[in-house]
């Protein structure tokens, strides 16, 4: 695709909108997470700031912006400040190929999912940089965990998506959605239930959320790789965590849940509704389950998810071949 001026402007506008979406999403999710957590834990959650605590997230972000950035001694300066940026920037690119609605795609590319998977790997790099550079042993342990975890879980995740790609024969996300119908039984989740299951497990692990939040396991590593980050550094990690969550939820909605297609009134609201349903699911299990141990996490991946995803891929390939 030639990078004409129109495309360039389109990308700039899209990135700006994505930044808006990321910040808006973080604000909404902080509130939703705290309210949902409060509901699960039988307490009111935030209720002081604004009506029903609605302004809590705004206050939190103001606090994070205004906080002094505390820098520990003997850190690796360039890397320490690079890490949050590396966590934040790729997310902007990741949203470009997502088809939010029939006509609402920032960048129509044929290999959309490849773009996403390629840049999603950068998240692990930022975790390593953060853990390594902050001269903190908890950070280092957290970084080591983050690497092992994201390397491990990326493989079954890709395998699961690959099964769908085999079946539909396209890597273009818009085409993927168009191949699915509006009703739940016309979605890919029905034809690829195992792939969907594997993807959802990997999604939680890839975004470092409980019960797979090993890199920042609070009771073991205090805060893991971002132990030494405060103020905006922490806020950027926080933003990118929520943005990553939203992204994998969008991918899940597009791949397995019919994207913008719904029983009635197709449109971007369906994509958002489905993505946020998955987001809520992630929040829900976070406040329900204890954390797994690190060896169990890797065992689950290498001994169960990976063989299962390969089997699923192979079965899909056989079925596709026979059907043709």
């Amino acid at each position: 695709m030639a990078l004409s001026l129109a495309v360039f402007v389109q990308i700039i506008v899209a990135v700006l909108l994505v930044i808006g979406l990321m910040v808006g999403n973080a604000v909404v999710m902080v509130y939703v997470e705290r309210k949902a957590c409060g509901f699960i834990q039988r307490r009111p959650g935030p209720f002081e700031v604004g009506p029903r605590g609605l302004l809590q997230a705004v206050c939190d972000s103001m606090k994070l912006l205004g906080k002094q950035i505390f820098v520990p001694g003997n850190i690796d300066w360039p890397l320490h400040f690079l890490a949050p940026v590396v966590a934040f920037l790729p997310v902007l690119l990741l949203y470009l190929p997502i088809p939010f609605g029939p006509y609402l795609t920032s960048l129509q590319v044929d290999d959309g999912i490849l773009l996403i998977l390629a840049f999603a790997g950068l998240g692990a790099v930022s975790n390593i940089l953060a853990g390594w550079s902050s001269n903190n042993k908890y950070g280092l342990l957290g970084a080591a965990r983050a690497v092992a975890q994201s390397v491990a879980y990326e493989i079954p995740m890709i395998m699961a998506l690959l099964a769908v790609i085999f079946m539909t024969g396209t890597m273009n996300l818009t085409t993927l959605v168009e191949g699915q119908g509006g009703w739940p039984w016309q979605w890919n989740i029905v034809r690829q239930p195992l792939a969907c299951f594997i993807y959802v497990v990997c999604l939680v692990a890839e975004t470092n959320r409980a019960p797979f939040d090993l890199p920042e396991a609070e009771s073991e590593l205090t805060a893991g790789f971002h132990t030494e980050y405060s103020g905006m550094g922490f806020a950027l990690f926080f933003l990118s965590e929520y943005a990553n969550m939203l992204l994998v939820s969008f991918v899940c909605a597009v791949f397995f849940l019919g994207g913008w297609r719904g029983p009635f009134l197709d449109g971007f609201w369906w994509t958002f509704a489905k993505a946020y349903a998955i987001m809520f699911f992630i929040v829900w299990i976070r406040w329900t389950f204890p954390r797994v141990r690190f060896d169990q996490l890797l065992n689950l991946n290498w001994k169960w998810l990976l063989p299962l995803s390969i089997l699923n891929l192979w079965l899909t390939a056989v079925v596709v071949k026979l059907a043709n």
Binding site: C37, R42, S133, K137, P211, S219, P290, R291, V292, R293
Partner: protein, 397 residues
Amino acid sequence: MSGLGFINPFGVRELPGTTTGDFYTANFAQKAQPGRVILNLGPQHPSTHGVLRILAEMEGEYVWRAEPVLGYLHRMHERMAEVKTPQQFLPNMGRVDYLHPLAWNWAYVGAVEKLAGLEPPERAQWLRTLSCELNRISSHLLWWGAFVMDLGGVTPILYAFEEREKINDILQIITGSRLTMSYFRLGGVCADADDRFLALTREFVPYLRERLKMYRGLVTDNVILRRRLEGVGPIDVDMCRRYGATGPVLRAAGSPNDLRRDVPYGTYPQHDFWPATGFPDDCFGRYLVRLAEIESSLDIVEQAVRGLPPGPIMVDKPPKANFKMPAGETYFAVEGARGQVGVHLVSDGGKNPYRVKLRAPGFSNLSLFAEAAQGTLLADAVAILGSLDLVIPEIDR
């Protein structure tokens, strides 16, 4: 922790003697092998529940050697006991173990009463049992929540606090405080149970039984929790013996040792209950023992409410300010939520005790951590630490 990032990009290397840090880190690092990391957990760490500090020699995720460092909450209660009369010292006992203060109340009061030959009246004895058991339930509940939080499950502690609030509300009626209770007096208790207290207690027992069923489904049967606990940190009877560990840790190891049954004090001989045994000796066994103890304590509370006799709550002539204990020695121990709470009291016949030794169960229980945590993963070490049910003010006294 200096220059970690620059010196050697291929691995973290800390040679013995080169570690910066305080006296304890340096002392610990002397025996460390090169190439291993000394990790300092605490005294401010989410899983050390207060101000415990653990030094761990790590190789990757594995803990090769661990050493708890104590004393961050040391208040020299034993010295205070020597310069105060027993009545003046009593409030201190609520501060030793803030989760089960009534056991400490009982241990000290019991020691003085034994020496002075005071026999509290029947109703006071029953009230002691009743309040002590309610307090034990609240202590175990808080442990339960905090332990699951150590494992990464954040929600149960808020459920536990909900029940604990109810117990605090109930105990507040008779003890007058919610945390550092000082309810027992020499020769009795300070306040009588009123109808509201009894009614609330009667309501509470079936309520908590229902809730415990819910907890079983929500937490105990959770597959992640089981995988995290089963087979982790086995502590057998021999190990308990070498370290003097008592209480739920010992009962999970398989010994039915329970002072309430073995050395009956108070009204325990009149209660129908059985020490919880028959569980595995790993972290999951210790978890189950404490949940079973909540149920057996509920039984005792139910029986105590039913059997509470009328009568006075104080001896006829309670000790006055000029009370002098006879010269002599006594050792009185009660079964606290964490194990044997012992008070060794020696009097030379003066107003103040000559020497008071407080035997904290958590102190002995924690001392086996170094051996139990050897060679475990960091997450398992945290689970073992949690399963010992530590209350730091009690350990540091």
